[in-house]
C-alpha cells in the first residue's frame, strides 16, 4: 500500500524538478545558470525514465547527457566568453510573440492529449530491460545500430575538422 502512495509522490516531485529546471533554462538571464538548470532537467527526465521502468535508458541519459553533452556545453560557454565578464549574457528577444506562440501550441496540444482516448495497457511489474534491448539491437535493429556508429564517427571527425585552428598559408 505504501508503494502505491509513494509512486504518485515520486512522479510529481520528478515532474516538478524537470519542469522548473526547464523554466530556468528558458528564462534565465545568465547562460551559466541555464547550463546548470539544464542538468536538473536532464536528471529529472532520467528519474521519470526510472519510474517508467526504463532503467537502461535512464543510465544512458545520465552518462551521455549529464556526463557528456552538458560538460561540452559548459566548455563551449567558457571558451566563448571572456573569463573576466561578470555577467555572462544570454540575450533574449521577442518574448511576447514567442509566449503567444507557445501558449497557442500548448492549448491545442493539451486539448489533444486529454481529449484522445489513448490505447493503454496495464503496465506490468518493472523488470530489467538490458537483456531485451541488447537482443533487439543485435537482431531487429542491427542496421540502424551499425549506421549509428558511422554517424558518430562522422560527427567526431567533423567536429575535429571544424574546430581545429586554421593554418593560413601553410596549405600551399
Amino acid at each position: 500500500m505504501s508503494e502505491l502512495s509513494l509512486f504518485p509522490l515520486a512522479f510529481w516531485l520528478l515532474a516538478a524538478v524537470t519542469v522548473v529546471s526547464a523554466a530556468g533554462v528558458a528564462f534565465s538571464n545568465n547562460i551559466v545558470y541555464s547550463a546548470f538548470a539544464l542538468m536538473g532537467t536532464l536528471l529529472g527526465a532520467a528519474g521519470l525514465f526510472v519510474l517508467l521502468a526504463a532503467d537502461f535508458v535512464a543510465v544512458v541519459q545520465v552518462i551521455v547527457y549529464v556526463g557528456g553533452i552538458l560538460v561540452l556545453m559548459l566548455f563551449a560557454v567558457m571558451l566563448t566568453h571572456r573569463v573576466g565578464d561578470v555577467r555572462v549574457s544570454n540575450r533574449a528577444i521577442g518574448r511576447w510573440p514567442a509566449l503567444g506562440i507557445i501558449l497557442f501550441i500548448g492549448v491545442v496540444m493539451a486539448r489533444a492529449i486529454f481529449a484522445t482516448s489513448w490505447h493503454e495497457i496495464a503496465p506490468g511489474t518493472p523488470a530489467p530491460t538490458t537483456y531485451g534491448i541488447g537482443d533487439q539491437f543485435l537482431t531487429q535493429y542491427i542496421l540502424p545500430f551499425e549506421l549509428a556508429s558511422l554517424v558518430l564517427l562522422a560527427a567526431l571527425i567533423g567536429a575535429v575538422v571544424l574546430s581545429r585552428k586554421e593554418l593560413k598559408g601553410e596549405a600551399e
Binding site: 504518485p8 512522479f11 515532474a15 524537470t18 519542469v19 526547464a22 533554462v25 528558458a26 541555464s34 547550463a35 539544464l38 532537467t41 536532464l42 527526465a45 517508467l52 526504463a54 537502461f56 535508458v57 544512458v60 551521455v64 557528456g68 553533452i69 561540452l72 556545453m73 563551449a76 571558451l79 566563448t80 549574457s89 544570454n90 540575450r91 533574449a92 528577444i93 521577442g94 510573440p97 514567442a98 506562440i101 507557445i102 501550441i105 500548448g106 493539451a110 492529449i113 486529454f114 489513448w118 490505447h119 493503454e120 503496465p123 506490468g124 530491460t129 531485451g132 534491448i133 533487439q136 540502424p144 549509428a148 554517424v151 560527427a155 567526431l156 567533423g158 567536429a159 571544424l162 574546430s163
Partner: protein
Amino acid sequence: MIGLSHYLFVSLLLFLLGLYCVLTRRNAIGILMGVELILNAANINYIAFARHSTGAYDGQIFAIFTIMLAAAGAAIGLAIVLGMYQTFQTIDVEAAETLRG
C-alpha cells in the same frame, strides 16, 4: 493514478519551454539548450508510450537512438559555435548575418 496522459503533459511542458528557448534566445549555445529540451520531451513520450501503450522495447530503443543523435548534434553544433566565435568574436546569432542576401 499516474497514467499515460500525465507523462504526455510533462513532456508537453518541456517541449513548450524548449520551443520558447529556441525562439527567443540570441545566444547560439542557448538555442542548442532549447533543442536539447525538445529532444528530451520526445524521449519522455517514446518511453511513456513504450510503457503504457505497447509494452515492447521499441520505444526505449528509439529513445537511445535519439540520445545518440543528440550527442552527435551537440558535438557538431558546439564545434560550429566555436568556429563562429573565431570568425565573429561573438556567438550572438544576429551578428553572424553575412550569408543573408
